[in-house]
Symmetry: C2
Amino acid sequence: KPPDETDNANYFCEYAFLYHQMDMLEDEHRTGSYFNAIAWNPDSFKDKVVLDVGAGSGILSIFAAKAGAKEVFAVEATDMAVRSRKIIQAQGLSHIIKVVQGTVETVTLPYMVDVIISEWMGYFLLRESMLDSVLIARDRFLKPGGALFPSHATLFLAPVGSAKACREKQQTFDGERQHFDDFNDAMTNYYGSDFSCMRGEFLEEQRKYYLQTGMFVNLTPKQLASGGSPLLEIDLLRITVEDLKDVEKPLTCSMRISKDTQLEGFTGYFNVMFRGSPQNPTKEVIELTTAPTAGTATHWGQQLFGFFPPLQAKSGDVLECRLRIKRQKKNHRLLQLEAAFTLGSEGNVREKREDTWYVD
Amino acid sequence: KPPDETDNANYFCEYAFLYHQMDMLEDEHRTGSYFNAIAWNPDSFKDKVVLDVGAGSGILSIFAAKAGAKEVFAVEATDMAVRSRKIIQAQGLSHIIKVVQGTVETVTLPYMVDVIISEWMGYFLLRESMLDSVLIARDRFLKPGGALFPSHATLFLAPVGSAKACREKQQTFDGERQHFDDFNDAMTNYYGSDFSCMRGEFLEEQRKYYLQTGMFVNLTPKQLASGGSPLLEIDLLRITVEDLKDVEKPLTCSMRISKDTQLEGFTGYFNVMFRGSPQNPTKEVIELTTAPTAGTATHWGQQLFGFFPPLQAKSGDVLECRLRIKRQKKNHRLLQLEAAFTLGSEGNVREKREDTWYVD
Ligand SMILES: Nc1ncnc2c1ncn2[C@@H]1O[C@H](CSCC[C@H](N)C(=O)O)[C@@H](O)[C@H]1O
Ligand SMILES: Nc1ncnc2c1ncn2[C@@H]1O[C@H](CSCC[C@H](N)C(=O)O)[C@@H](O)[C@H]1O
């Protein structure tokens, strides 16, 4: 069976719930930034034909219609499409917004569009791989010179000094060794069945699916051991699905440590910018950021990955990272980060770490 | 796309983890009852050919081999099969137990078997619908006169007097009304978008996926307002997959209330018996029960369903239940209980309740 069918069925399942759409709508920084990006740039929407990729409740289509769009195609794969039609009708916008139920990869539209709006970002920016769908929509439906909202995205890494979540993770993981030994004693004593041959595989399973897996956190600025450093910068007009899948060339970034500290982990977060297109730039450039320094907690939080054990860093050290973002084989919407870190002052690497981390 | 493929992919996914197999193995009442049923009945296994349906770690196959089986086929769908082979080898039993990876619906065996062992029970006995697979295995592979371990299963209902979990559920559900109104105020005030047309659908979603959904609990005897009453009795040798899917005839049971009390809900739990077959009965009849009165908490706990609002019962009242166990359309491994309750003393029904509850 093709894994994509199963993944798709699971992926879309959640979005069919009002509860989940409301969770996103209630993220004020998220929804407010899209609102501002659209409502404060009416020139970008006045009399334009707009495509909303993954319309969900229809909110972005409503923003676009209110900003003066001539016609909006709200494409949504799940049954949420049926509800968005009611919501749009309640705003008196059914004459402008056409809801089309289906995947943007398979629907047809009567003509090309001037603007694509979409909220496709997942944890660590790329989880869910929904950006693929936006790029396919762009190649299928965007007029030359047309604009994407958002137009740019950047994924940042930053070293994390102190993080209780990482220490607790290490402790829980250490507890699993004892757990296994107790389990094996019971199996041997009660049932005469020795499971010790599974010890290594069990700990490996715990390492992969627990210890090395990213955590959802809301970090505070003081937990960071340096500012964020851009790892990946995406121009949505130019990047291709192939670029996103290309794992041969690792991404790199370099972080200058600002204090003597342990590094208990590293974090990934992102921003997106609404710049319009070169031919149709926005007058007001809006930024939506998930940075821990922004003071605007979002439903994305940040992803936190642990160094086990922590690294010992000094003020002025540089943490260099080479990292490949791969898709997990079992579920192409989840990520696997193959990373190599070095820490030291110029020319003198004191610590090296190579490992795989997961965004599940 | 056929729903079964997706369901199957999801269903089997979890069982491929050692963590999950260990959870089951560590349930002492579960694993211990299977151990006793097999080890204390060596006559049922000596020189027999055995099929283990859904062997997982291989533990039941190991018990059968140690009880004297001549040959055991351990059929397991997931990659746990590879691990069970190692575990079996570590016990020095590879010459007796043959691990066959695949679904029992599709594998082939060289000959028919004398005994089928399987641990197929889910929440509310039937969740996961794995009993289907056992019955298919029986029809494909069991010799006439052969035995099933377990041989019988009973699903019980009991009325629950006091249950904090039900009261809390009602409160949380009530809170969702306010949640929606706050949400709608924010959407209207900040974004000029009125979502009030979704109020009814949102509350309906919360009712179905939250309020009416069974909870995992470990009840204590004093919470019960009567003993358990059998709702469904299964003879594994005789029941068919069609019987299990037949929803036309509702199941019924009748519970005599033993004290003046509110009924905040009802609970479902089960037992299975190891009696062998009429031709080959077990000498020691073992029972594995998940009853709250048994003092043996299992990983199944009990399923608790709420009455909202509670019913007012008096000592001597009878709670009558007519209930259809259906499979959920979106996922045939999950259940939907369409039930009608009446409460009263003979000939005088004081309260009626008709509703659907879900086992998710
Ligand atoms: N390929 C695809 N085609 C159509 N819809 C898709 C899609 N991939 C994801 N989606 C939908 O995209 C939505 C992403 S969530 C964003 C919803 C809404 N635009 C908002 O900003 O609030 C989900 O509802 C999901 O079902
Ligand atoms: N149709 C089917 N064919 C083969 N294996 C199946 C199956 N349906 C479920 N299973 C497997 O059955 C197991 C049920 S859990 C029980 C595991 C083991 N017998 C024990 O008692 O500890 C899971 O490992 C699951 O993957």
